[in-house]
């Protein structure tokens, strides 16, 4: 038998999800506990499990595996847990402490005992070289060759495995960074070197230096891991191309990933957004809110015109309540999402104002929610869902966990009820209401930050926790449609398999409409295009049919503003003497879109430029969503559960998702259970089962 299959593996903090795509386009999946000391073990175990189950002999000569796609939180975890290489930073004299003094501010205004994030590289491992360029790239101070050579000797004796190089204004001209790398490699040919003009040529030294440090810090670890994984797969006969999912939501080669491992940060959540974007295209929904809720956090992103929104910088390891400024900034192209401490394991408490608070602490998988009977004492969101009748021990996906309603009730009273004089049930209502409100507020803030209005968006919910909360979130956000797709539990890994080959090259280049640098702009765009092509084309050689798209973008602002808005450049033409007018017109339109009103007579500046090259992925089969139904599904059982619409506990239909046939509908209140999640409908919600098994949930606004 020689049907071809593809594999995807998503290594997460708790589980490694492995998905096999069969030749006919459907999936088999498994979850294996992540093996932190050697993550490839869990991947191989999952691969072997699925191969056995599908009757595929991986070691046969005519290998049937055509592609292996991998995403991992390994780089992220190495940064968070500080398990990277012995790394030095070399920077411009006078700027040794940029990554330590950060923004000189406190992310928590009212905490006297605040602890600021520790720099990734300690001061004793940070060195300087005399050299200096101006903001326009002019040499203000020559590169100190002799000093650099002496420093290389010092680094050689220091036992460093990896070196990050970041000089001031190197995004304009990286000559000196390259020169230092050459000197270093001449003396230490085997050392890892990362230079900021290659890793992240964007203006703002704190973000750029931190990004090059992060890259250097995880590079030895990631390079050796990727080599091991490839070798192990080869030994088992999997000799197909191996690709990595990057944070921007595309595929990159193993070689690129080993050189720029910082681009792998956030690859798992990126997979989720690609999953949602693919579904958005299949369902023909051009404005989608992707809602992914797991055990620890909820992630929300906006997907307009079937493409997830992207950003040029983000923070990893936010230590304090996911607060802005409490993590380390990484300047790379990334799918833009907001992440808050709201998951099934998030712990409920009561604050000094007698208000219920949720998270950011999570009970995780050990000890887990009180209901897991593993010793957890604190009430969690999962405990509230059990108390409210939304979860039930008989239909809970994880068969090795026996949910205890008694432990959940006791914990709810202990964590919330006693302080507020509430019984377990009312405490649970409060916990659910507050966590839903938190997520709704985060989603609204995210929309405002991106100049979007939430009206008219369709929500796509996936991840173990999302379908439990999604219908309530839909109400709170005033949305009209909610989609719970099949395969929601392993959405990210499925997303990997529909990701394009892509690379986004970004560079800061500053010019103004008053005095527009036509040649400079053309050069930047050309070199960014070459750079992005150089990453995508080699990966494509096996897949010669792919057609590439090139998208070019420039971030602009009024002179004097600090926040840029992206403006798409629509074709590959070069700029001429009308460039300033053209860009002004485009910017003004975009600005009005964001803020409703443009400002006359002000110069406009360009700040950063980007070029994204990507392959075109064949769109999945179009699914026409319909609320037409031929019959009403009949529930096998009923149970007493809380209905958010009426605020009462009511008799609620409980149905196994596998028993719902296409074309049937179901009126709330209802609970739809499946292996990896549970979907909840309130009394004003209606669910219509689509041809592909998708649940389309709508609401009756008048009944709310």
């Amino acid at each position: 038998m020689s049907t071809s299959v593809r594999f995807a593996a998503d290594v997460g903090g708790t589980f490694t999800d492995v998905v096999l795509e069969r030749a006919r386009g459907d999936y088999a999946s498994t979850k294996v506990l992540t093996t932190h000391d050697a993550p490839e073990r869990a991947i191989l175990e999952g691969v072997e499990q699925l191969a056995t189950a599908e009757g595929i002999d991986l070691s046969s000569q005519s290998s049937v595996v055509t592609q292996f796609v991998h995403g991992t939180t390994l780089a992220t975890n190495a940064l968070i847990e500080r398990r990277g290489a012995q790394t030095a930073l070399v920077t411009t004299e006078g700027f040794r402490d940029v990554i330590e003094t950060r923004t000189e501010s406190r992310f928590e205004q009212y905490d006297l005992d605040i602890v600021l994030p520790t720099p990734l590289i300690e001061r004793k491992d940070r060195y300087t070289v005399a050299e200096r360029r101006s903001a326009s790239g002019k040499v203000l101070l020559d590169f100190d060759e002799a000093g650099a050579v002496a420093l290389v000797e010092h680094l050689a004796s220091g036992g460093y495995e990896s070196v990050a190089v970041g000089f001031l204004h190197s995004y304009v001209d990286g000559t000196n960074e390259r020169r230092f790398r050459d000197l270093l490699l001449d003396r230490l040919p085997d050392i890892s070197v990362s230079i900021s003009c290659e890793v992240s040529p964007q203006m703002r030294e704190f973000e750029r230096f931190n990004t090059v440090c992060a890259n250097a810090y995880v590079q030895p670890l990631m390079a050796s891991y990727l080599v091991r994984l490839r070798d192990e797969l080869l030994q088992r006969g999997v000799n197909c191309p191996l690709y990595l999912v990057h944070s921007g939501g595309g595929l990159m080669s193993v070689e690129s990933a080993a050189a720029f491992p910082v681009r792998l940060v956030e690859s798992g959540p990126a997979g989720g957004a690609i999953f949602a974007a693919d579904l958005a295209a299949r369902y023909g929904r051009d404005r989608v809110l992707s809602f992914d809720m797991g055990g620890t956090t909820a992630k929300i992103s906006l997907i307009d015109d079937f493409r997830p929104a992207t950003a040029k910088t983000f923070e990893v390891d936010r230590t304090a309540r996911f607060k802005k400024g409490s993590g380390m900034p990484i300047s790379i192209p990334v799918i833009d999402m907001i992440e808050i401490g709201a998951g099934g394991g998030s712990i409920a408490s009561v604050d000094v104002l007698d208000q219920i608070r949720i998270g950011p602490k999570s009970a995780g998988s050990e000890p887990g929610p009180a209901a897991y009977s593993l010793g957890g004492q604190d009430a969690t969101v999962t405990d509230a869902n059990l108390q409210l009748g939304r979860l039930h021990r008989d239909t809970f996906g994880a068969t090795d966990i026996d949910l205890s309603p008694q432990f959940a009730s006791e914990a709810l009273v202990r964590s919330v009820g006693e302080r507020l004089g509430l019984d377990a049930n009312t405490s649970a209502v409060g916990v659910a209401e507050v966590v839903d409100e938190n997520m709704a507020n985060a989603a609204r803030a995210h929309a405002v930050e991106n100049g979007k209005d939430m009206g008219g968006y369709t929500m796509i919910a996936f991840g173990g926790g999302a379908p439990l909360h999604a219908s309530r979130l839909m109400d709170k956000l005033g949305l009209d449609e909610l989609i719970v797709p099949p395969g929601a539990g392993v959405g990210s890994a499925i997303g990997f398999l529909v990701a394009p080959f892509s690379y986004e090259a970004v560079r800061s280049f500053y010019t103004s409409t008053l005095d527009f640098d036509v040649d400079g702009s053309n050069e930047v765009l050309a070199s960014l295009t070459d750079e992005a092509m150089s990453f995508v084309q080699p990966a494509l050689s096996e897949d010669a049919e792919a057609i590439l798209t090139v998208e070019r973008q420039v971030s602009m602002r009024y002179a004097g503003q600090g926040w840029e808005i992206p403006v798409a450049l629509d074709d590959d033409s070069t700029f001429d003497e009308f460039a300033a007018e053209l860009l002004s017109a485009k910017f003004t339109k975009a600005y009005e879109g964001f803020f409703g009103r443009a400002i006359d007579d002000l110069a406009i500046e360009t700040v950063s430029w980007s070029v994204r090259v990507s392959s075109i992925v064949a769109a999945g089969e179009r699914v026409e969503l319909s609320i037409a139904s031929s019959s009403v599904a009949v529930a096998a059982t009923y149970r007493d559960a809380y209905d958010a619409a009426s605020g009462e506990r009511v008799e609620t239909a409980v149905i196994d998702r596998n028993e719902l046939s296409p074309g049937t509908c179901l009126h709330g209140p209802a609970i739809i259970a499946e292996a990896q999640t549970t979907t909840v409908l309130a009394s004003h919600h209606t669910c219509t089962v689509q041809a592909d098994g998708t649940l389309l949930i709508t609401r009756d606004r008048s009944a709310q």
Partner: protein, 550 residues
């Protein structure tokens, strides 16, 4: 209302309260996104809040500056009073930058927008009824006069003063006022742009609030406001219970402008609240470092909140328990027309002054003194050669010294406190104007010794690029009077300012940095906490290895 409130109502009100806070956060975010002012967008020098129809603040966004804590809360009653309750119409927008009715200096413009809602009457008609206000404040790029700096003798020299008036009435923009503003400020497009931005951010708040009231089926804010005030008031009084009633005093001497300034406070703690009296403080000075009392009030309140009740939100009920007084004419109670442009320098010391007083009651909470005032400067780049003119450029930069050591933790290095502002990227600053920052690095040995070491200051070297010189407005303190240690901890290092060739440079006032010269700023460190001999050997060794102490 509480007696009759059941558990479900309570949860409902909690959800609405959370939503109201998210409404003002959105209001603030809208402002940050559109602001031209460096201090707004980079430093969070703004505030945004929602008020009930009587002008009591119900919720305020958490932004970068405690200076707006009370000043913002007090501003709206002034608007109601000065406009006149019978002249408040739908579609109105009010404005002021009066230092004594707003946030302490002319550079801060406050815009206030009334919110009306159609409310059903008993006779089945609806009436447009005033239900509350939004207000937002931002530090604008320029306000005319001499430009930003401490050198004015009277507030008249510091720029245009807009008394409380209408920026728009019934949706009609007051074009005369727009023209007056435009004619009186530098960078007028940006300043007017920022005023429009303030109005737009209030409008964002107004729309979100009306949507929220629709969703929750509320007519107005009255009951929700009562719930918020009741909850907050109870929690605030509970927090105050942590301090033994009594009178707590402190004095602090700082550099001032020309001669040292003594700041004095006596805080009276009772069961009902805390009252700070600033008698004994030096008289106003002839230059613009004077502080309107409202601004001192804000930094006193902030200090007490961080020490006692860091989790409490700012609103009418949490702020109402903190009162201040001072004789007219002391430097923390400047009167019109005293100059007040750089009131932040002494204002920032008020927090350490008041924390120092209360330290006797809260020895486990209160840190040593820190660098306190930000080391801001305004560099006006001008052509070095008048025969060869170059375009003038204004640059504002924020920099911080070290904070005081905490009872259980070292001080923070090069970090703002009590201000919450961020510094700007050196690369971004150099893109804006003809400046080169040659060094911006930790200043070793500048933290006060102690069981917990004071935060380190930093060293900054800067100069104009070729063809330019700087008219440089210095606003630096703690050069002659370092941050004091606490509980046996040593003082932080004092600040220093000088030109590269050794020429001395004054800590305050307008001076020239000539072409080809570098100005060197050594920012002060924070005081230490506890006996230095008790510092752990590991901490001492780490200080040495990292080069924090050499």
């Amino acid at each position: 209302m509480n007696a009759s409130m059941n558990a479900a109502d309570t949860l409902h009100y909690q959800v609405m309260w959370n939503r109201l806070i998210s409404v003002v956060e959105e209001q603030a975010l809208a402002l940050v996104r559109t602001a031209f002012s460096t201090s707004v967008r980079e430093a969070g020098d703004l505030s945004a809040g929602v008020f009930d129809r009587r002008g009591r603040m119900i919720a305020q966004a958490v932004t970068g500056t405690p200076g707006h804590v009370n000043t913002m809360a007090d501003a709206v009653p002034h608007f109601i009073n000065d406009i006149g309750p019978d002249r408040i119409y739908p579609g109105d927008i009010y404005i002021t930058n009066d230092p004594w009715k707003g946030t302490g200096h002319l550079h801060d413009i406050t815009v206030c927008t009334p919110v009306f809602r159609d409310i059903a009457q008993s006779d089945a008609t609806t009436t447009e009824t005033l239900i509350g206000f939004f207000a937002a404040t931002a530090h604008v790029v320029d306000i005319g006069g001499r430009g930003y700096g401490p050198d004015a003798k009277e507030v008249y020299e510091e720029g245009i003063n807009i008394p409380i008036m209408k920026w728009a009435e019934r949706w009609q923009l007051n074009r005369d006022l727009v023209n007056i503003v435009k004619a009186n400020v530098r960078e007028s497009d940006q300043v007017v742009g920022d005023i429009h931005g303030l109005a737009a951010s209030n409008e964002t708040g107004r729309r979100r609030l009306l949507g929220m009231l629709d969703e929750f089926g509320l007519d107005d804010l009255a009951e929700l406001a009562e719930f918020v005030f009741d909850r907050t008031g109870t929690a605030t009084r509970r927090a105050l219970g942590g301090v033994e009633p009594g009178v707590y005093t402190n004095e602090m001497v700082v550099d001032g402008y020309g001669e040292p300034v003594t700041l004095a406070v006596a805080i009276t703690v009772t069961d009902d609240g805390m009252h700070a009296d600033f008698s004994g403080t030096s008289p106003v000075c002839g230059l613009g470092i004077n502080v309107p009392l409202g601004y001192a009030h804000a930094y006193f309140t902030y200090g007490m909140l961080v020490a006692l009740a860091p989790e409490l939100p700012n609103n009418f009920a949490s702020l109402d328990v903190f009162k201040v007084s001072a004789p007219d004419g002391v430097i923390l109670n400047a009167q019109h027309p005293d100059p007040v442009a750089v009131r932040h320098v002494l204002g920032h010391f008020v927090t350490d002054l008041c924390l120092g007083a209360i330290a006797k009651a809260l020895p486990e909470r209160v840190p040593a003194e820190g660098a306190g005032a930000l080391w801001n400067f305004q560099a006006s780049a001008r052509s070095a050669d008048l025969a060869n003119p170059r375009p003038p450029v204004e640059m504002l930069m924020f920099n911080s010294g070290g904070t005081g050591a905490r009872p259980r933790l070292d001080g923070l290095t090069a970090t703002a406190f009590p201000s919450g502002v961020r510094t700007m990227s050196v690369e971004a600053t150099e893109q804006i104007g003809p400046i080169v920052i040659w060094r911006k690095e930790i200043r070793p040995n500048s933290g006060g010794a102690g069981k917990q070491r004071g935060g380190l200051g930093q060293v900054i070297e800067l100069g104009p690029t070729e063809g330019y010189q700087f008219d440089f407005s210095a606003m630096f303190d703690r050069i002659d009077h370092p941050a004091r240690g606490r509980c046996g901890g040593g003082d932080g290092a004092p600040g220093k300012v000088y030109l590269e060739d050794g020429t001395p440079f004054a800590g305050k006032g307008r001076q020239v940095v000539p072409e080809g010269q570098r100005l060197i700023l050594e920012l002060p460190g924070g005081g230490g906490h506890g006996d230095p001999s008790e510092r752990s050997p590991e901490a001492v060794e780490n200080d040495r290895r990292q080069g924090y102490v050499t």
